[in-house]
Point group: C2
Chain length 153, copies 2
């Protein structure tokens, strides 16, 4: 048992040293890194859906279903991704209003959660037109939150 | 309909401009960014399980279940996260052996997928000892792959 714990401790150390940057991260920096990583994974799965909806990629029902399920799973994880001590830390585009207008932010995020869930339902139907409409609704919910709570590039 | 597509195009543009860095990313760099982000989200959810298994955090059955379900969902996504043109791109710790010893890498990744699935089953039982053992098994499967296929820090 002791040896197993040692293996785990080694593993935990290996994780912490995933990059030399990670080793020197503060708690707030690690939180921002986690949040931005979560958005990157969401965006990476939304891109093919956007391309299908825009006709830049042929509609693929199986891939649309897989991507939409991932988005519906990942988006609610954003609810934990804005802890107070990540406000204003590092290279972030997160506006302070996220933490001052919490009701407004929660509403905008809930809209995205709802639209993402509807996207997964649409994708499960295999109907290309329903998927397109749901992708557009989800994209608008992203943009709605970005317009209010994200610094413009 | 045209207006909807316009909103989507605007949204796609907003995503591409998530950071000024993203705007200048090559395809390979974006793939490395996606992969590292996926690992960051997996690690962020594994950390509390590791802390519970090591007794650094009290065992919380509901949180363990949530984290383990996320890990079991996210880990299989790693199968797509090593496209050939991401080999050797940017600040990566991924060894070239990932792309030369594909059978070995696939085996190491499959072990992690299997252990992550078993972790979710263990966490669903609510039994702290089963969770601890499964966390250790998952940690060893991480380390097994890192030892062979990740550059040491």
């Amino acid at each position: 048992m002791k040896q197993s714990f040692r293996a785990l401790a080694l593993f935990a150390g290996a994780l912490a040293l995933q990059s030399s940057q990670a080793a020197t991260q503060t708690k707030g920096e690690a939180e921002v890194d986690y949040r931005q990583s979560l958005y990157t994974v969401i965006a990476g799965n939304f891109h093919p859906l956007g391309a299908m909806a825009e006709g830049k990629m042929p509609f693929n029902a199986a891939d649309a279903k897989l991507r939409a399920e991932r988005i519906a799973f990942l988006v609610p994880m954003l609810k934990e991704a804005f802890p107070a001590d990540s406000n204003g830390v590092g290279h972030t585009s997160a506006k302070p209003e996220i933490w001052t207008d919490t009701a407004g932010f929660d509403k905008a995020l809930q809209l995205l959660i709802d639209k993402s869930a509807a996207l997964a339902v649409a994708a499960n139907s295999g109907d290309a037109d329903k998927v397109k409409a749901a992708v557009q609704d989800t994209g608008k919910a992203c943009k709605n939150c970005h317009d209010k709570f994200r610094v413009k590039d």
